[in-house]
Amino acid sequence: MAMMKITRDALPALYARIAAEQSLILPVKTAGQTNFGLWNETADVDLYALKTVKSAKDAFFPQSETLYTCTTEDKKITITPEKLTDEQFVVFGIKACDVQGIKVLDKVFLSAPVDSFYAARRAHGTIVAMACSAPSESCFCHAFGIDPTEPADADVVIWPVGDTLCWKAMTEKGEALTALAGDLLTAADAADETALENAKAFTKSVMQKLPYANLTLEGWGADKTDEKFNSPVWDDLYKGCLACGTCTFVCPTCQCYDIKDYNTGKGVQRYRCWDSCMYSDFTMMAHGNNRNSQMQRFRQRFMHKLVYFPTNNDGMFSCVGCGRCVDKCPASLNIVKVIRAFQKAEKGETK
């Protein structure tokens, strides 16, 4: 499809038009922080924010969702499964890294056994990806082969160029959305295309100057379990870890969840909610916990992202370099430090 464009001023009208038909999820600022949220007239949209605090993961895999509800009347128990999503929705303004995050989730939830809740959302969601214009110091998506100026696997890609946004539908869903946008979009011309290419080039030049520009994944990937698992480096690295779930919950790819019951007084709502492998009660069983030290839990998270996941998924890492954990870890620990610590250790350097 041909390149279209929309002016920044026209965005509110676009939002309203989309929201009239479907739910629209996009970066919204609440009390100073930007996260993906539902659009409404009063929403403080912050589309140009580089990074939302949480990734766009919630749109397809919400932090908490009910699976089914049991209601008791007298001694009779009625079980009502939660309805699967059956309405179209749009997630607007996802960055390339987060789109890749969704691809990671697809691997987990769309392979057999398929997670029907996730699948329903994926089937009904339209992804509008937005190219990055100014990546920040914590960005390292390039290490995973992601081009932030060319988000892949989205239904629509938009590029901010000055006060304009270039718009290109990539899939049928994207075409439908383009149709819905109607006259708010106009055809882009050669000048726009040039400006866009310049913008992309600028972004790439920024990428090269950022501190993580030279980060590689050397030494990491599939089948590295044996050489990494018993390394003494873990013991040195984990010490500052507070065992909180910040890294997990801001991560676009973490997919672990717990299933719990909520007592409503009239019955039980069985729900699932994100869990963190950093938590001491993660995978707690009657006999105890299979990882009973924070070192083991810390190792699990990074080994999973950088070794186990690629081992089981044709080399695909379950990290996308969004850098949220770099920004948000309360103890300033992060995956980049882990990647590099091992690379140094393997080269015989001390940290």
Partner: protein, 148 residues
């Protein structure tokens, strides 16, 4: 199902924690003196006002209570000497916090009722229920999952 929901009127749910030694006995005295107060008030017996955890109070609101009142022995008269003094500080701070986050004042209350104060028990419950009626349903602390 509540039997009198047919009226469609707001019938608040009110939880009254009463210490075993003074206030529960005070409620008994209100009963034996036939001093009426609204049936909306349901009493939970605890050994001492100091047994009441702030979490119980929040739990009640979460599950749909519209008002929570805690009754204990008068300061100085605690069966366990000092329990109500601790309860007094805990509840003062909790109530202040609830006010701070915007929960209407008056949804929570502490009253010291002795075993001899049947009249006070009944008056207090009448007053408290009236206040809750005036405030209307608790929406700021309820958990939506507990609604139908």
């Amino acid at each position: 199902m509540p039997l009198n929901e047919k009226t469609g009127e707001f019938t608040p749910k009110i939880v009254a924690f009463c210490c075993n030694w003074c206030s529960y006995a005070g409620a008994d005295l209100a009963g034996s003196s036939r001093l009426a107060y609204p049936a909306e008030v349901k009493i939970i017996r605890v050994p001492c006002s100091c047994r009441v955890n702030p979490m119980f109070i929040l739990r009640a609101f979460e599950k749909g209570a519209d008002g929570v009142i805690l009754c204990g022995c008068h300061p100085g008269d605690c069966h366990y000497s000092t329990g109500n003094y601790y309860a007094r500080r805990r509840m003062t701070l909790l109530f202040s916090m609830l006010d701070y986050i915007g929960v209407e004042k008056g949804r929570t209350r502490v009253e010291w009722v002795s075993a001899a104060e049947g009249v006070k028990f009944s008056t207090t419950m009448n007053e408290f229920a009236a206040k809750i009626h005036e405030l209307g349903p608790n929406v700021r602390l309820e958990d939506l999952r507990c609604k139908n």
